[in-house]
Point group: D2
Chain length 335, copies 4
């Protein structure tokens, strides 16, 4: 059993704790939070874990690994301390506040030979894994675009723009499905409310090979939409995470352009293919359960996680560039 300690028992921490408790290869040895209320709840649900209100106390515990589920501003210090003291680290996304921080953590983990997993949970869902399988088997042909809408009402974060809150999901999914070199980012948005925060934003990520990613995130939508279109030259996918079943629909649809003559662009032949649609059965497991097992597996065998420091860094790079572009009304920022 791998002894793990958890820092942060707020919104997401309890899910981690639950998964580290059930047949995961982990023993949840300690939980740290500064809130007495939260610790009380932690105690009821995980009576055998040691509860700590101070980090010093927490880090004194005999732990092989540390999971960090705190606000992003604290990620760097906590992860550095955890790795520095010889623990493997499970780190919430986004990984860090800056590219320099993310790079420093990757370097430290390498030096200390510790596993660093960034919790890009969606990568471990049955739906995303199924799409990856389709792409790897060439079912979609060449990839053209990723276009995602992730909007709902709330929850406003007090300290970050909507980009830092919602876009990491899509950037990490896109990064997993379309591992192309990212070239530039343009981000626009709306900062209506008087507090400087941006509750609604559009990102465009330019990638190698003319592939483009569009991400629409918002805290101010009256309806919840979780809708991703993925375009390939052979087939296209609609991935809707709010569908109880049929989360993925694969359309045998496409456009064939046959330019017979370079000079005759006006006479190019456009042909549409419109065929069947099918919705493959998606395995019905909890993504976090799979991810915790994967973390245990990486620790035991010294493997690089599917969502390691490199994936985490890529997300941070896009976020930081988006923030800069956003300030300049969409002016592109090279990556």
């Amino acid at each position: 059993m791998i002894k793990i300690g958890l820092i942060g028992f707020g919104y997401w921490g309890p899910n981690l704790a639950r998964n580290f408790s059930h047949d995961s290869g982990f023993e949840l040895a300690a939980i740290c939070d500064f809130s007495a209320n939260r610790l009380e709840r932690a105690q009821r649900l995980h009576p055998s874990a040691r509860l700590c209100t101070s980090l010093d106390d927490f880090f004194k515990t005999d732990l092989d690994a540390v999971a960090i589920a705190t606000p992003v501003a604290t990620h760097f210090d906590l992860a550095r301390r955890a790795i520095g003291s010889g623990r493997h680290v499970w780190l919430e996304k986004p990984m860090a506040e800056s590219v320099a921080q993310a790079e420093a953590l990757i370097e430290l983990a390498q030096k200390k030979q510790k596993i660093l997993l960034v919790d890009h949970t969606f990568v471990y869902t049955g739906a995303v894994r199924k799409i990856k399988e389709l792409i790897d088997h060439g079912r979609l042909g060449d990839l053209i675009y990723y276009d995602s809408t992730r909007v709902n009402l709330g929850l406003f974060q007090q300290d970050v723009n909507v980009i830092w809150d919602l876009a990491p999901h899509d950037i990490s999914i896109m990064d997993f499905l379309m591992p192309f070199k990212k070239l530039a980012v343009s981000a626009t948005g709306c900062h209506y409310y008087g507090n400087g925060l941006v509750p609604k934003s559009l990102l465009t990520i330019y990638m190698e090979g003319n592939v483009v990613g569009h991400i629409n995130v918002s805290w101010v939508s009256p309806v919840k939409i979780r809708q991703t279109l993925i375009g390939g030259t052979s087939r296209m996918v609609l991935y809707d995470d709010t569908e109880p079943s049929e989360k993925i629909k694969i359309y045998d649809k496409g456009v064939d352009l046959n330019v017979a003559d370079k000079d005759e662009v006006y006479h190019l032949k456009v042909q549409y293919r419109v065929g069947d649609m099918y919705a493959p059965r998606i395995e019905d497991h909890e993504a976090l359960a799979l991810e915790t097992q994967h973390f245990a597996d990486c620790i035991r065998h010294g493997k690089e996680p599917l969502t390691g420091g490199r994936a985490g860094l890529d997300v941070v790079k896009v976020l930081v560039a988006s923030e800069e572009s956003l300030k300049n009304r969409g002016a592109p920022v090279e990556l």
Copy 2:
């Protein structure tokens, strides 16, 4: 009866012809098209109209007004000739290829005291008129954003980007609902296919008062989506044109931010309001029928059309700026 002639009997022209025939105040006196096939069809459906294959022939006809339903590249010349020869003009959107062309047509129409209507059809639909009514009655509060997705498979235009094909619908709807000064445009997109055309694009239009418009248009989506979110401080609207009934849903939802102290942005209070939704009954008329009656009314009484030259020019300005921004990966273009 106002004698009207129609140039162009391709995709949209037959709809105009049908509406100019039925109790519209118009007499459809002539139809001009260079294609024999199309003219044959025109003759079957409109046996009393004079058919012309040459423009000279067409313009010799005794006509009070001319409707122009041809590719955008021909709009300027045809409209200039029509107004110049003393006819009122119904012009398809987008109005012209350049801002200079659009401005010249507006000036000419003023000088000649002729009506110039640009066919922004959606403005005349029951749904858009209902939303306008809600806004004018203050039901949405202050407007925050317009966010529209208008995607489907095909129809590729051979000579223009998707922006010129699909975005005029949304720009004209937005312009009608939110008549705020437009400040700048950022446009990004995907030009995967080797022909230089852009089949998928994202526009952001910055307006006065921190209001933002987002428009997502695509010819390469496996599914047809016509979905517009309109955010106000009091209520929000979901307008889905593919819904057979309930095209408009009004949500009594919103976010209230109370910043007690400027220095305490981290402690601002965010409150969500989640109330009822209602879907008002939409009047079930054909938009074109209303629009042709409006055109007749403007001609008879010398009124400025709801969608006149100014509205057409605004759309052209955004399109031209988008095209430029698109070439620079989203770099904003001032309007």
Copy 3:
């Protein structure tokens, strides 16, 4: 060209006239209706057809075939006269008011060697033909049930119950897909309004082999539902006619019951299969166009129509039995 005359230019007649006009192998030679308004409209749309207000006049026309699109109460007399005078007949559904009438028409057509087609339009849709193809290829396994909901607001018929108005669609589809011997019918319903008419009804049709058909029809539903479930031992189908695309969804789902021992019914093993769903592409033709071509083909080659007298009679039998059962609160009526 087969010369055809049409009686009845009300709700459905114009659709027939349109299809008999376009490349159908027919020449629409005469149209008969007692309403001057309707005849005026007929003249505008079909200027070459002879217009008649009297049946005597109509039947004097040189006609090879007669299409009858009038209220059901008139079907028997009109069809008898048409066949009796040596014409092939296209007859709207339901075919007749009674089993005796339907049988008499079948007998007369046989004697006169004339084609009698009953217009069960849905049988000619791409969706229903696709389901038939799936069943014929054994994709659904043994059929278990047909369960259809066909409800909306209006249109109240003044002279017949909702069963006679809406159920013929489902009975004819079911009859085509599941040509099993029908054993008995139970029908229940609601006759709230004080006029004796039944605006909402449920039919159950017991068939050979324990196959059951359920049909829910209503004129008093706030929403329009056109939803049919078809259960087989291997696969199940959801057919939704209101879907713009994906009208048919085929589910690789089912239940396997393995009763190891007759005495151990309490310990039978129930296993669920939950696999992929797919939505085959449906050919996008107008059902009536196909049906008119089929009618021409039957006339030319003396073939029995897909929806001939026998199919029409089966529908009438179920309707008549339903009406009787309805009066006795669902008491079953043998067929």
Copy 4:
């Protein structure tokens, strides 16, 4: 605190246990189940409850109330013993296997002055309570029909027909919303599988005032449908329990029949009203939490539960009559 014991820790029991544990006014004092596995799970979740494998042992515990969540065949004996030994009873639905059993339990509870609550959970949901409120305020006008579809794949019960499994939900909702005298029941169904069980059934319940209830239940549907239409003369409701939001939609739609003259039924005027739709906000509480508080309240103040013995008996009467009608292919059974 009311000391309560729970018999049965299978599918539903754990939900009851959870609700009796949290601020409900109850102390969960004992749990009885014959399965060691289940008791082990009970112990982990409710460490302070006494665990019993024998009923004798269980009934010896100091208990004010007993909750019974076991198969229906055991309800009568267990409830009789519980009430007989002076305990209040929470009884799962359906209340008993026969009308005689249900009546005996009601009589016993009255004699012993104990509370008998039948767990018709849906009556305590925000959605059903909202519909009740609308009806009580006259918003729907006179009620005409209740029409519910409750179908999905599985879970086959081994010992009862689908009617006993799924229909109690709808009968109890209908009974709550439309408390009219029930006159007769007709039930039809499909018993394809060779084991005598009926996995799919249609019920019609005739009520006073020409009001009709239709209930469609199935274990063999490829898709999950939970859709109820409720028709009134003024408004109609669509209640869809699978909708994440907008569970209730109220349509200002209807039919007005004006029969000016009894003899002129053929000329009655039918008028359709088609107005707005609205979806009221539904309170988002767990129905069971409300129901357990209600049970505590009834015990403390000697109040008759909203879903007491009378409501339970009504459900049993309909189920028993349905079972009989089902054997006779829909022949109506008087209530």
